[in-house]
Structure formats: C-alpha cells, structure tokens
C-alpha cells in the first residue's frame, strides 16, 4: 500500500477520482441526456398545436371563472367540513393501524424474516395503487358517499405512513433496547420503553404530514364520487357554473393553507 502511493506521488499527481469512475459517470451522463432528448422528441410529436392555442384558450377559460361567486360560501361550507372530517377520520384510523404494520415491517424489530418480507411486500403492493383508483373501486363497491372515500384514504395513507415509520424504527439506537432485554423485559415492554420514546416525535410529525396530504387527496376523491367538497366542485363544473366552481377553489385554497400553517407550527414545536 505505502509503496504504491509513494510511486504515485513521485510521478504526476493522482486524479481525484479513479479513471474507471470517471468513464462510468461520463457514460451515465450521456445516456441520461439521450433519454431526455428522445422523450422530448416523442412528446413534441403529440403536442401538435404547441403552446400557441393553449395560451389563447387560457384567457378564455380564466375569464369565465371570474369573478368567483362568493355568495355560495355558506352553502358549500358543509361539504368542505365533510372533506376535513374525512381526512381527520382516515388519518386517525391509519395512524392506529400503522403501529403494528410498521413494527412488523422493521427489520430490527421483526427478526423473523418471512414475516418481515410478507408485511414489506404487502405494504409495497398497497403503495402501488393510486388513491384515485382506490376511490373508484370503493365507490363502485359502496356507492357514492363519504364512506368509500374514507376507506380509500385510510388505505392510501397506511401505505405512506407505515413505510415512513418503519424506516424511522429501523434507524433508532438499538442499545437501550438491548438493555431492556437484558433486564428481563418482554417484547412489548422493550418496545414501549426503548422504542416508543425514540420514534414518537417523528411519528407525530409524519401523521400531521399525511393529514395534510389527505386534505388535498380527499378533494380529488370527491371528483370521482367519494363525497365532500370535491363532489360539489365536480357538479358545478359539470353545469359549466364557473363562478361557483371558482368560489369553491378559493375556499379549498384558503383551508389547505390554514391547515398546513397550523400543522407546520405543530411540527416545528415537536422536533
């Protein structure tokens, strides 16, 4: 080892990265550029009119939306509240169900490999299904209303939460857990004493984050008939009643902003 480095320093200075790495990175760079150029070419072919028409259309559409008909606000307040309630219920249920799932899909807690792989795979499958598809399926099963929306949101947020939290669990300091085990604690006691204090702040933060996502998601779910403000928005758009739709959009915008502000403040206080 020492001899090699000596002979190097006597001659020319060595490059910072090995030659092999340099070639690899260069090749990867050009492949990525190639992919970009190729996909640009294909999408360009689809966009026949280019942007020219779109900008013209935009002015026409936006004109129709203004001014928003704010006089309907009292009437749409109820479905808005429904949307928020949907998100609250779904997030709460998901947060409770996440706990066992996250524990079972954390490698350092579930040392029984087959069980770990089973829950991991289950969660991965869960995450591949888009929330909109879930909502369409459940609306088909239960009919139009809040219930299918809530179920869809629960499954959707379970996928995200369990993944995030199991990764937090895998990153904890295992030493205290060993100490609890050495003092004769059973597995539940070890988890509650050694693990819970370490992941609780992140857990709360992730739940709040998923709550924010759920507020927005539940609006979109309304569009496919899963209740809440989204359903009303869809109806108004269907009637071409653009001023009403705009009032709804403004309300959603304000509510989402307020909720995100509150939960951001809460998260800051936690960590």
């Amino acid at each position: 080892m020492t001899k090699q480095s000596n002979s190097l320093s006597q001659g020319t200075t060595p490059p910072i990265f090995p030659v092999k790495t340099k070639i690899q990175v260069t090749v990867i760079f050009f492949v990525v550029i190639g992919v970009y150029l190729f996909s640009m070419f294909w999408t360009q072919q689809q966009m026949v009119g280019g942007f020219g028409n779109a900008i013209g259309n935009m002015v026409v559409v936006i004109e129709k939306f203004f001014p928003p008909n704010l006089s309907i606000l009292p009437a749409i307040w109820d479905p808005m509240a429904q949307t928020i309630q949907m998100a609250i219920i779904a997030t709460t249920v998901a947060a409770v169900l996440t706990v066992p799932l996250a524990l079972l899909s954390a490698q350092n807690i579930t040392t029984f490999k087959p069980l770990y792989y089973f829950t991991r795979t289950l969660l991965n499958i869960l995450r591949t299904i888009p929330d909109l598809v879930l909502a369409v399926v459940f609306v088909g099963l239960f009919g139009i209303g809040l219930f299918p929306g809530i179920i869809a949101l629960i499954i959707f947020s379970l996928g995200i939460l369990a993944k995030l939290i199991s990764e937090t669990i895998e990153a904890v300091d295992m030493n205290p857990l060993e100490a609890m085990r050495a003092s004769g604690g059973n597995i539940l006691q070890v988890i509650f004493y050694g693990l819970v204090p370490q992941v609780l702040p992140q857990f709360t933060s992730f739940v709040l984050y998923v709550f924010e996502i759920n507020i927005r998601a539940s609006v979109v779910l309304g569009l496919v008939g899963a209740g809440g403000i989204g359903l009303v928005l869809d109806q108004q758009l269907g009637f071409y009643n653009y001023p009403n739709a705009m009032a709804i959009i403004v309300l959603i915008f304000v509510v989402v902003l307020v909720i995100e502000y509150i939960s951001n403040k809460l998260r800051e206080a936690l960590i």
Partner: protein, 258 residues
C-alpha cells in the same frame, strides 16, 4: 454461583468466541475480566444473561443449566442479572427516573409498565437507587442532558433498581475520562460489598483491574489463560495475558485525582 463447564461458542460466521471455558464464580466475588479487544470478554459476560448463547458445554447459574432456557424462564433469569454497558444504553429522550424504572420491567406486568402504573415501592426504590449513586437531583432531566459519567451512574441506578443477584459490566469505563472512571468503579465496588452482589466487570486497563478486583480472569483468543486472586497477579501475568509487553495505553491512570 456461576459455573462454566466446557463452554464453547461458535458464531454463525464461524468465528470461535469461546473455547473450552471452565470457570466457577462464587457468590459475592468482584471479578475483573481482562484481555485485549476481541479476546472474548464480552462474549463471556453476555453468555451469562444469554444475550449470546454458547453452542457447547453447560452453564449453571444457581445450579440450573440456563442454556436451555427460553421465553419466560429466560426473562426470569435476566431479572436477577443486571447489566451495565459501555455506552450506558439509556433511552436518551426519556427522563432519568423513567430510565431507572426500566430496571423494574422484568418484575412488573406488561399492562402496568406500559401505562406507567408502577407500584409505589418500585418508584421509591428507583429514587433510593438514584440517591445511592448521588444523582437524585437530576431526577427529571432528560438522559441526553447528562454527562457520560452521570449517564453511567444512572445506568448503575437502573441496575440497582432491578435488585439483581449478579451484576455484569461490559467495559463500563471505556468511554469515560480517568477521574470519572474511578468514580464509577468505586460505586460498583461499594455496591458489591454492601449488597453482596456478585460482580463481573470487563476492563482492559490493567491498573484499574489491579485496584478494584478480588480476582482476575485473563482471556486471550477465546480461552481463559489466567485465573487467580489479585495477590498472585504481577505485570508479568498481564504480559502473558496480552501476549506482548505492557504499554502506556494499557493504563488508565488518574487514581490519585479522584
């Protein structure tokens, strides 16, 4: 009484942790295990509370072979063996009292412990233990607010709260400075004498081993190469155990400062 009979331990990757160990540790002894890192001291200690499981031989604690223990037997065994770690192994985000109460986990039902419904005498015992290591004023501080020496004292209090018959200490002073090291060792020795708790400590500083031990067991490459009372130990013994001459960094020093 702890009896190792022909104990051997082979790790799944093929490394031999312990080879043919025959050692008897009597009640009330203060034993210091010495040896270089990787000599098998930790494996030896962790076999006693089955954090690792020897693969051959038999290990008797109070005349019962513990190698076959599983589930509740194993937890019961662990309640009578307290353990102190190099990195203190406290829950950093929990307060000192809760950390110390964790020593009672093995004696407390799952339901009670999860909902913090500790018996009054358990909380009293935890507070008493903190007083014994002079850290009772930090009761409600979070564990990560304490210095290394204070954290190690909290972990001693946790072990005391457990009311163990045996204490195992795996390199308890390796992360501490000399004066604090001596303080921690003094507490361990004091508890050993006052409560008559059999104590086994891993150390690699030979001057500390000489100062605190009743009996020294030397290990090299998974084997016991020396076992005898401190009075029989000289620098030459350590040279044999370590398989090399004694160096400056084998000594902790600072005995007079504390």
């Amino acid at each position: 009484m702890i009896e190792f009979k022909d104990i051997g331990l082979v790790y799944p990757n093929g490394t031999e942790g312990l080879k043919n160990i025959n050692v008897t540790i009597n009640d009330g002894e203060f034993v210091v295990m010495v040896g270089l890192s990787g000599a098998g001291k930790s494996t030896f200690i962790r076999s006693i509370n089955r954090l690792v499981t020897p693969t051959s031989g038999s290990l008797l604690i109070d005349d019962e072979d513990i190698l076959s223990y599983r589930g509740s037997d194993l937890r019961k065994l662990r309640t009578k063996i307290g353990m102190i770690f190099q990195n203190y192994n406290l829950v950093k985000r929990s307060n000192v009292l809760k950390n110390v109460l964790a020593g009672r986990l093995g004696h407390t039902g799952t339901f009670r412990s999860i909902f913090n419904l500790y018996k009054k005498e358990d909380v009293g015992l935890a507070y008493e233990s903190l007083k014994r290591v002079n850290i009772d004023e930090k009761l409600y501080n979070r564990a990560d607010e304490l210095s290394g020496g204070q954290q190690q004292r909290v972990s001693i209090a946790r072990v005391l709260t457990q009311k163990p018959k045996y204490i195992l200490a795996d390199e308890p002073v390796a992360s501490l400075d000399p004066p604090t090291s001596h303080q921690v060792m003094t507490y361990l020795k004091k508890i050993n004498k006052e409560d008559n708790i059999t104590t086994i400590v891993n150390l690699h500083f030979i001057d500390m081993a000489m100062e605190y031990a009743d009996r020294i067991i030397g290990m090299r490459a998974g084997e016991v190469v020396f076992d005898g009372p401190v009075s029989e130990v000289s620098e030459k013994t350590f040279e044999e155990i370590y398989g090399r001459t004694i160096r400056e960094d084998d000594l902790r020093g600072g005995a007079n400062e504390s």
